[in-house]
């Protein structure tokens, strides 16, 4: 899921200075799952805006905001501005499809997990060249600050990462997982990563 962080309501209010009639959109896929921008937070934001003199035209969710067909079906009449709590992708889809100003109420953080309730962890940086089948399906590219694909650095002391010392070094996590499933990490031939896979903006043409 895409993990987002809700911006402070005051900050959102400031950007809405020129607008009166507002529609707030939440998204249930990422923003809702991490309790930062689902329908519930959209309603809370709407109430705050209302209390501060704004007129709320609608508060809604499309389920997934990055699905173009869904966005196209919505009419935003009587709305001066749309406040989107969807991730960067969803918000841009609204902006592309609807001829109205769109502002975001969140910052998009990363692709991560929601398995830790309050702490969301980055699990994937969408590098475009997935190697996790060789690392116990635990990604060192996303989960090591230096994206080390060929084993740990010399800063892995007491199992912890020297950069974020409240986080286990991912190479310990990988090593344990591989050990648990009766495998081990064997150094492949050292090669140079192809970062052109992740040069943005990226496009993917589905040829299926």
């Amino acid at each position: 899921m895409v993990v987002v962080k809700l911006k402070p309501f005051n900050e959102i209010l400031k950007i809405l200075n020129d607008y009166i009639r507002i529609t707030v959109i939440g998204c249930e896929i990422g923003s809702g799952r991490c309790m930062q921008g689902g329908l519930r937070e959209a309603k809370e934001l709407a109430q705050f805006l209302k209390n501060n003199g704004k007129e709320i035209v609608d508060v809604l969710t499309l389920g997934g905001t990055c699905i173009v067909e869904k966005v196209k079906k919505i009419s935003f009449k009587d709305t001066d501005v749309i406040v989107s709590l969807a991730c960067g992708a969803g918000t841009q889809v609204i902006s592309e499809e609807i001829n109205k100003p769109v502002i975001t109420g969140v910052s998009t953080l990363f692709i991560g997990s929601d398995s830790h309730k309050e702490v969301f962890k980055e699990y994937c940086i969408a590098c475009g060249d997935c190697i996790i089948s060789t690392t116990g399906s635990i990604c060192p590219i996303a989960r090591c600050p230096k994206s080390l694909r060929y084993g740990p650095c010399g800063g892995a002391i007491n199992k912890m990462c020297e950069v974020n010392n409240n986080t286990e070094c991912v190479w310990f996590t990988i090593d344990k997982k591989l050990n648990d499933i009766g495998k081990y990490f064997s150094f492949p031939e050292i090669d140079f990563s192809d970062y052109s896979f992740s040069n943005h903006p990226r496009r993917f043409k589905n040829e299926l």
């Binding site: 230096k146 060929y150 010399g154 800063g155 950069v163």
Partner: protein
Amino acid sequence: MNFSKKLNNGKFIITAEIAPPRGIDTDKILKGIYPLKEYVDAFNITDNQRSMVRASSVVMSKVLLDNGFEPICQFTGRDRNRIGLQSDILGAGIFGIKNILVMTGDFPTLGDEQGAKPVFDVDSLQILKMVKLLQEGKLINGKELNGKPKFNIGAVFNPFAGPEHLQIAKLNKKVELGAKFIQTQPVYDIKTAKYAHEIIEQSGAVPIIGLLPINSLKMANFIKKLNPHSVPDSFLEKLSKAKDPYSYGWEYALNLAQSVTEFGRGIHFMLVGKTEDLAQFIDYLKNDSPYNHKF
């Protein structure tokens, strides 16, 4: 006998570490290390060590060379991608720099430019492979070089880091990719020094044991924070009671250095301290110590 020859013929090696200036005045540094000229085989020139901005390690290495010192130019993958690194390593070759030391590099948030973009396009192993290719006369992309460099290549090993078997496998890979000598993170007891020496010797490289004299309780706590098991409690206790912690830490490091001469191949002073004292100590090791024949 120079560093290069000593690497190949088994003689005991002494290296020391200096940082380029934060600025452009190199005279002070040169004056500072002058007493060590005849005693230290080569000087590591750090590459923005601990992510703190200093002048270029390549340029400072050239300054040392021009002043009759033997530099080991350090290269990390933190600040340059493969284009920048290949370019600067070839530049080092043009300057006549004979020794390089390769490492992945500290993360920027540990230094004094915490908002800097981390590069890490290539890690230590990939830089070693890069250097191997350059020495064979090719760029990574296969293009032929017009004149190829030749270096004594070094890398690093931290005996305190884990998982142990992965650290050792990585060390072996470094040696396989061309690392001839391995310098360690600072050690503070003979057992760790011996362990590191053996592991590195088994890999086929020349072990050079890192020593960082501790000059205060504050510094000891800093090292302990980085590496909780590296500084023995007994040392800390004596340091905290010492009337002159600087001298105590210094003597401790020198004693350890002497112990390493019994079984080791080299020591690396990560802080030169009082250079006259260090020169005197090395003079003793080379001439009057029981292991003087190793030098």
